[in-house]
C-alpha cells in the first residue's frame, strides 16, 4: 500500500469513528430532552413528586451527554476541512444551506438547554417547561437538517455535470434529495428508539434491584411510551428506505445482501433464515423482480463486505426490538388497569435489549456510509480524490481515537455512578 492510499484509510477511519462516537451522544441529546419534558409535564398534570424527581435526574444525564455531543460535533465540522477539503470545496455551496439551518437549530437548542438546566429556580414553572419543549423541538430540527446533508451525499441533486465540473448550481433543489424523507424519518426514529430503549433498560434494572419503586415505574412508563411506537414504526420506514436504495443505489443493495449474481426472485436473509424471493419482494414489491448482483459493477466501485454484516445486525436487532414492543404492548393491554408488566422475566428481557437500539443505529450507519464508498458524493466525487494532501494522518487518527476511548469510558463511569446512586437511594 502506498503512503497516499494509507492516508485515505486513516482519514476515512477518523471520520468514521468520529461520527460513530458523535451520533450516540447526538441521539441522546435529541431524545432525552423529550423524555425530560414528558416527565415534567406529567408532574404538572398529576402533582406526583416522582415525576419532578425524574425530570431533574434525566436533565442531569442530558447535560453530560449533550455537552459531549456538542464538542464532538464541533470536531466533525472542522474535520470535514481537515481531512476532506476536496469534499468541502465541491459540496460547500450545496450543503452549506442545511448546515446553516442546523446551526440555527443547534444554537437555539444550546440556549434553551442552559435556561432549562439552570433555570429551575429562576423561571416560572410553565416558562421552564416551555424552554424544555423548545430544546426537544430544536433537537429534532437539527437532526432533520443535518440528515439532509447526508441525503445529498447519497443521492445528490441541484446541479448539472459538465465534463467533471458542477454547473447550474441550485442549492434549493439540493435540499430535495430523493433520500431526504426516509433518511430523516429512519434516523429520527433510531435516535428516539435507541435512547428510550436504553433508558427503559436502566430503569428495568433498577426495578429488578428495588421492586415496585415508584420513581422507576414512572420512568419505565414514559420510556415505553416513546420506545414502543418508534420500534413498531421503524421496520416500515426501513422498508421504504430499502426501496429507495434499490432505485438509486442498486450496488449498495447488492452489497447489503451480499448478492453476487444478478438474480430474478432473489431471496432475503435474516441471520441463518433464508426467505425465498424476499429481497425481490421487499426491494421492488414484486416477488419475481430481477435484482442486480455485484458482478454487474466494476470491482473498484464495490463497497467493503462489512456492509452486509451491518445490514444483518441492524435488521436482526430491529426485528427483535419490534418483537419486544409487540410483546410489551400485549402484556400491557392484558393487565390494562393494573399498569405495567413487571414480571422479572420481562424486566430482564428489557435490560437485555437495552443496547439493541444503539447497536442497530451504528450498524445502520455502517450500511449507509460504508455502502456509499468509494464515493464521498455518490457518483460525483470519489473519497480518495477528496482527501487532504496533508500526510502522516495516522497521527490525528491515533490521537482522537485515544481521546474518544477515554471519553466513552469516563461518560460510562459517570452514568453508572448516577444509576448506582438512584438504586441505592430507593432501597
Amino acid at each position: 500500500m502506498d503512503a497516499a492510499s494509507g492516508d485515505v484509510l486513516f482519514a476515512r477511519g477518523q471520520m468514521a469513528y468520529s461520527l460513530g462516537f458523535h451520533m450516540v451522544f447526538a441521539a441522546i441529546g435529541i431524545a432525552m430532552p423529550l423524555l425530560m419534558v414528558m416527565a415534567e409535564w406529567r408532574w404538572r398534570r398529576t402533582g406526583r413528586a416522582q415525576y419532578l424527581e425524574l425530570a431533574r435526574r434525566w436533565s442531569k444525564g442530558t447535560a453530560v451527554f449533550f455537552a459531549i455531543g456538542a464538542v464532538s460535533g464541533t470536531v466533525l465540522s472542522f474535520e470535514l476541512g481537515l481531512l476532506f477539503p476536496g469534499f468541502m470545496e465541491l459540496a460547500g455551496p450545496f450543503i452549506g444551506m442545511p448546515f446553516s439551518l442546523e446551526g440555527i437549530a443547534f444554537f437555539t437548542e444550546a440556549i434553551f438547554l442552559g435556561l432549562y438546566l439552570y433555570g429551575w429556580d429562576r423561571l416560572r414553572p410553565a416558562v421552564h417547561m416551555a424552554c424544555g419543549a423548545v430544546v426537544a423541538l430544536s433537537g429534532l430540527l437539527s437532526a432533520v437538517f443535518v440528515t439532509l446533508v447526508n441525503a445529498w451525499m447519497n443521492a445528490p441533486r441541484g446541479f448539472r455535470l459538465d465534463g467533471g465540473r458542477l454547473v447550474d448550481i441550485d442549492p434549493v433543489a439540493a435540499l430535495g434529495s430523493p433520500f431526504a424523507v426516509h433518511e430523516i424519518a429512519h434516523g429520527l426514529l433510531a435516535a428516539y428508539m435507541a435512547t428510550a430503549m436504553a433508558v427503559a433498560a436502566i430503569h428495568a434494572w433498577a426495578l429488578l434491584k428495588v421492586p415496585g419503586a415508584a420513581l422507576h415505574r414512572a420512568a419505565l412508563h414514559l420510556a415505553l411510551a416513546l420506545a414502543i411506537p418508534c420500534a413498531l414504526a421503524q421496520p416500515l420506514v426501513g422498508h421504504s428506505a430499502g426501496q429507495a436504495v434499490a432505485e438509486h443505489q442498486p450496488l449498495k443493495l447488492a452489497a447489503m445482501e451480499g448478492l453476487e449474481r444478478t438474480t430474478a426472485g432473489a431471496p432475503a436473509h435474516l441471520g441463518p433464515v433464508s426467505i425465498p424471493r424476499g429481497l425481490s419482494l421487499m426491494a421492488y414489491s414484486d416477488p419475481d423482480a430481477v435484482v442486480r448482483g455485484l458482478e454487474e459493477f466494476p470491482a473498484a466501485d464495490r463497497p467493503h463486505p462489512v456492509v452486509r454484516v451491518g445490514f444483518q445486525v441492524m435488521v436482526l436487532l430491529g426485528t427483535a426490538a419490534a418483537g419486544w414492543a409487540v410483546l410489551t404492548l400485549a402484556l400491557w393491554l392484558r393487565r390494562w388497569r393494573r399498569g405495567l408488566p413487571e414480571a422479572r422475566s420481562w424486566l430482564w428481557l428489557t435490560v437485555l435489549l437495552g443496547p439493541a437500539g444503539v447497536i442497530a443505529m451504528e450498524a445502520g450507519w455502517i450500511v449507509t456510509e460504508v455502502g456509499r464508498q468509494p464515493w464521498a458524493v455518490y457518483g460525483v466525487l470519489r473519497t480518495a480524490d477528496a482527501v487532504t494532501p496533508v500526510r502522516q494522518l495516522w497521527l490525528p487518527f491515533s490521537l482522537f481515537a485515544l481521546i474518544y476511548v477515554g471519553l466513552a469510558a469516563a461518560a460510562t463511569l459517570v452514568l453508572v455512578r448516577q444509576v448506582r446512586q438512584t438504586t441505592g437511594e430507593a432501597r
Binding site: K60, A63, V64, F66, A67, I68, A70, V71, G73, T74, V75, F78, E79, L80, G81, L82, P85, M88, E89, L90, A91, G92, P93, F94, I95, G96, M97, F99, S100, L101, G103, I104, F106, F107, T108, A110, I111, F112, L113, G114, L115, L117, Y118, G119, R122, I169, D170, P171, T388, P389, V390, P396, L399, F400, I403, L407, A410, A411, L413, V414
Partner: protein
C-alpha cells in the same frame, strides 16, 4: 455591499462575539488553573457557576463562523484545513477536552477532570490565536514569534475578560477584590503581549493598522482600567468587552479584502451567487430567532450576582 462582503462581515461579527463570550469562558479555565491561596476553592466554584448555564451557547459562535466560512467561502475553508492542519487539530483536542471535562467535573466525575478542564481551557485559545495570526501572514507560517505572541495574547485576553466579568458576578466582596486584582494584572499582560506582537509582526504590518480603530482600542482599554481602579465593575465589563471587539475589528480591517493571505479574497473565494443569495436571508431569519433568545439567556443568568 455585495452578498459575499455581507457574509464576511457576519463572520467577523461572529468571531468578535465568540471572543467576548467564548473567549471569557476559556479565560475562566485560566483562573481555575491559577487559583491559589485560601480562597482557591471558592474562586473555582465561582468560575464554574458563571460558565455552567452559558458556555455551550457561547461555544456555538465558533460553529457559526465555521459554517458560514464553509458555506459561503468553500475554497477558503479547504485551504484553512490544509495549511493549518496541526494547530487546528490541537485546538480541537482542547475544545473536546475542555467541554467534556467541565461536565464530568460538574456531574460527579473524578476531581482530575478539573485539572483537564483548566489546562485545556488555557491551551485552546493559544492554538486558535496561532491560526488567526497565520492567516494574516503572506507566508502562512503559524510558527514564529508573531504567531506565538498572538496565541499568548488570545489566552491573556480571555483571562482578562473572565476576571472583569467575575467581579460583577460574585456577591462576595472578598472574591470581588481577588478578581479585580486579577483583572488589573491581566490588563497589564494584555498590553505587554499586544506590544510584543506588534514588535514581532512582519515589516509593514503596523502600517496596515487602521489608526481610528487603534485609537478607539486604546481609549476603551484605558477606560476599562480606570473603571476597574475605581471599582465601577459594570462599566469595566462593558468597556473591556468593547476593547476586545475593537481588537477583532482591527484584525478584520487589516485582513480586508483577504480571507486567508496571500491569495484568497472575499470575492475570489465566494461560493456561487445562488448559494450566497440564499444564505443571507437564512442567516437574517436565524439571527432574528437566536439573538433575542441569547439576550434572554444572558439576562436570566448574568444580570445580578448569585
Amino acid at each position: 455591499m455585495s452578498a459575499a462582503s455581507l457574509l464576511a462581515a457576519a463572520m467577523l461579527g461572529g468571531l468578535a462575539v465568540y471572543a467576548v463570550t467564548g473567549g471569557a469562558d476559556f479565560g475562566g479555565g485560566v483562573w481555575d488553573l491559577l487559583a491559589r491561596g485560601p480562597r482557591a476553592a471558592e474562586q473555582r466554584k465561582l468560575v464554574e457557576r458563571a460558565l455552567a448555564p452559558v458556555w455551550e451557547a457561547n461555544h456555538v459562535w465558533l460553529i457559526f463562523v465555521v459554517v458560514v466560512l464553509f458555506s459561503a467561502f468553500p475554497p477558503a475553508f479547504a485551504a484553512l484545513g490544509i495549511r493549518f492542519h496541526a494547530p487546528l487539530t490541537a485546538a480541537l483536542v482542547g475544545i473536546v477536552l475542555r467541554g467534556s471535562a467541565f461536565v464530568f467535573r460538574s456531574y460527579g466525575g473524578a476531581p482530575a477532570w478539573g485539572r483537564v478542564f483548566a489546562v485545556a481551557s488555557a491551551a485552546t485559545p493559544f492554538f486558535l490565536g496561532l491560526v488567526l495570526a497565520g492567516v494574516t501572514l503572506p507566508s502562512g507560517d503559524w510558527l514564529g514569534w508573531f504567531p506565538l505572541a498572538v496565541g499568548a495574547l488570545a489566552v491573556a485576553l480571555g483571562a482578562y475578560l473572565a476576571a472583569v466579568y467575575l467581579t460583577v458576578e460574585t456577591g462576595d466582596p472578598v472574591l470581588r477584590v481577588d478578581f479585580r486584582r486579577r483583572a488589573i494584572g491581566s490588563w497589564i499582560a494584555v498590553s505587554a503581549l499586544a506590544a510584543l506582537a506588534l514588535v514581532a509582526a512582519p515589516d509593514g504590518f503596523a502600517g496596515r493598522l487602521d489608526p481610528t480603530v487603534v485609537a478607539l482600542t486604546l481609549l476603551l482599554a484605558i477606560g476599562a482600567l480606570a473603571a476597574l481602579y475605581r471599582g465601577r465593575h459594570r462599566i469595566a465589563r462593558a468597556l473591556a468587552a468593547g476593547q476586545v471587539v475593537a481588537i477583532v475589528a482591527g484584525w478584520g480591517a487589516i485582513q480586508y479584502p483577504l480571507l486567508i493571505a496571500p491569495d484568497l479574497t472575499i470575492d475570489g473565494a465566494a461560493a456561487p451567487a445562488a448559494t450566497l443569495r440564499l444564505l443571507v436571508p437564512a442567516l437574517a431569519v436565524g439571527g432574528a430567532l437566536v439573538l433575542p433568545s441569547l439576550y434572554w439567556l444572558m439576562r436570566v443568568f448574568k444580570s445580578r450576582p448569585d
